[in-house]
């Protein structure tokens, strides 16, 4: 229940009697358009409004398995990943030939393009750089594990 203050107006004194205490822990959110149209024409856009664009929704499909990782270095510039870029990494995605992946190697995390090739001994995993200055490395399961798949790159392009 809300507030029911009763004012009894007598000459010179206003007395306020509280019958109920107001409930103050409820918040009612009103759509912005619902207010402020008491006078004048209603906005012609009112019927056409949509939700705002939410980058979280666009860039993060699977929040519980998504992690942010910072890229350091220039070995992936051919794939559009530059020094200090922010990588959105989704562990729920299945890595395939050509995915850009985060690999966990002994020394830590590294960003590479995954190449899976058939060789005489079966499948072979190659961690490929996207910069001619760097060599590709052939690894086995013991040397590297695929930690997650990079889905987006976020970069501040201001100088």
């Amino acid at each position: 229940m809300g507030e029911i203050p009763i004012f009894t107006s007598k000459p010179q004194t206003d007395i306020l009697i509280m019958l109920y205490r107001p409930v103050q822990n409820t918040k009612i959110k009103l759509p912005i358009f619902a207010g402020g149209v008491a006078a004048g024409f209603p906005s012609p856009a009112e019927d056409y409004k949509e939700n705002k664009i939410d980058l979280n929704e666009e860039l993060i499909q699977h929040p519980s398995s998504t992690f942010m990782i910072r890229a350091k270095g220039d070995s992936m510039i051919g794939a559009g990943i530059f020094d200090d870029d922010l990588l959105v990494v989704d562990r729920s995605l299945t890595p395939v030939h050509g995915s850009i992946i985060i690999a966990a190697i002994y020394a830590g995390f590294t960003v590479k393009r995954l190449q899976i090739e058939q060789s005489r001994y079966g499948q072979q995993m190659i961690l490929a750089a996207e910069n001619p200055d760097y060599d590709d490395t052939v690894v086995d399961d013991e040397e590297a594990t695929i930690w997650g798949v990079v889905s987006h790159v976020v970069r501040d392009v201001r100088e």
Binding site: S64, F67, I69, T110
Partner: protein
């Protein structure tokens, strides 16, 4: 059917997700203030490091064996725990979060499904999507789930998952479980049951129901039914409102100085108040405790709780205002403090929690200290002046915890010894933008 999903060596596993170089190394995580070991990797276990071992006892071993040691990073563990829960719920919608690393899963309503396959899917998903290995026991009741999970963890076969349906298998598991390890059987009952030659869970299972009821009241009877596969403890999906909040820490070093302890108590009181405000509760009662280190047998011992000088202060008006709680907590401390003791721990407990909007006022009291003309007083009743606290919480929320603190909780040169910042803390990889992991492109 109910499943208990339990993360293996959870704190260690969290650290390993972000540090691939420690994957096959012995790793331990220490408690608050780096006191003792609270999580161990299997490699650390096989070096003989027990749960709760004080850190100083293994310092030399840690260096010799290259054991990786971490302070507990509860921000990280909390975030990872939430991720696991979200992941599980995408497959099994009804989940009770039992602790930071354990969840009860309701497998009811999955009739016709292969539970073992479904369970495996849960485990695989948590491992792949989040990186945490888990164990899962699926049985008829929560009590049995606890037992199954315990044994699953030790078992080397079965891939960390057990579906216990056959009564013979249940009995085999019960035989392996000491009665004292059962959920809700304390040391007192264990002793009592031993007098009647009941040593294992199977012994209790085979005891007639009326005997259990007589010895252990209805609580034991419930346990007995749970052991027989009849659920008596329902899944609690909505967390119960807290009954009390306790904040306590061990000091960085032994403390004799009242002003340093006062600052610690004030900090704990402020932290209790903050937790109260976070869940929109107010507290009616407040307790303060201090104690010496009971493991230092040569030192004189004092603990106000043991000395039966436990002060429960009834607050004049229920509050969640840091300023109120600090004031009453420091007053309480002055009453229980005895000089000439070396204290190692203090804490503040608030209880009698009620929702903020159900504040009871005394008949002649208002939250306003000086009675004002009637109109003003009514206003004060409607709107207790919590604006300062709200502003403080907002600022701390925006610019990081402890941006603004109350004076009583600030360290002076003289008092700052009571707190030691953990030195072995890993970054807040998942919750702080400046702490996110780095991947090399080189």
């Amino acid at each position: 059917m109910i499943g208990l999903l339990d993360a293996n060596n959870f704190y260690v596993s969290c650290e390993r997700v972000f540090n691939p170089d420690i994957v096959n190394k012995p790793v331990v995580v220490l408690s608050n203030k780096d006191g003792c070991v609270v999580s161990r990797s299997n490699e650390a276990k096989s070096l003989g490091i027990g749960m709760g071992t004080p850190f100083f006892q293994i310092k030399v071993l840690a260096e010799m064996e290259d054991i990786r040691v971490y302070s507990s990073n509860y921000t990280l563990y909390g975030d990872m725990s939430g991720r696991i829960c979200a992941e599980v719920k995408s497959l099994i919608p009804n989940v009770e979060v039992y602790s930071i690393d354990e969840q009860f899963l309701d497998f009811g309503g999955f009739g016709g499904h292969d539970l073992s396959a479904l369970g495996n899917e849960v485990k695989t998903r948590v491992k792949k999507h989040i990186g945490i290995p888990t164990c899962l026991g699926i049985v008829k009741t929560k009590t049995l789930a606890k037992i199954a999970n315990h044994i699953t963890k030790k078992s080397l076969t079965h891939n960390g998952i057990y579906v216990l349906e056959h009564p013979k298998l249940v009995e085999a598991f019960l035989r392996l479980t000491p009665v004292g390890d059962l959920w809700g059987v304390g040391r007192r009952y264990q002793k009592k049951l031993a007098e009647h030659k009941i040593y294992t869970a199977l012994d209790l299972y085979n005891t007639p129901e009326h005997f259990v009821r007589k010895q252990m009241t209805v609580v034991g009877q419930r346990l007995w039914h749970e052991l027989h596969g009849r659920p008596c403890i329902p899944l609690e999906q909505i967390s119960k409102p807290k009954k009390n909040i306790c904040t306590s820490r061990t000091f960085g070093q032994l403390e004799t100085d009242l002003s340093a302890i006062k600052e610690a108590v004030a900090t704990h009181a402020a932290s209790c108040a903050e937790k109260l405000r976070k869940e929109s509760s107010i507290a009616n009662y407040l307790q303060v405790f201090i104690q010496t280190n009971r493991y230092r047998k040569d030192d004189p011992q004092y603990s106000n709780r043991a000395a039966n000088r436990s002060f429960t202060w009834t607050l004049p008006i229920a509050s969640n205002d840091s300023r109120d709680l600090i004031r009453y907590a420091t007053q309480a401390l002055e009453q229980i403090f005895r000089s000439d003791f070396k204290y190692n721990k203090c804490g503040v407990i608030v209880s009698g929690l009620v929702p903020e909007n159900e504040r009871q006022l005394n008949l002649f009291e208002s939250t306003d200290k000086q009675p004002e003309p009637i109109f003003e007083q009514v206003q004060a009743v409607c709107r207790p002046d919590n604006r300062v606290m709200k502003a403080m919480d907002d600022l701390n929320g925006r610019f990081g915890a402890k941006t603004i603190k109350l004076g009583a909780t600030m360290s002076t040169q003289k008092t700052q010894s009571w707190q030691l910042t953990p030195s072995l803390l890993s970054p807040h990889y998942t919750t702080k933008f400046t702490d996110i992991p780095i991947a090399r492109c080189s």
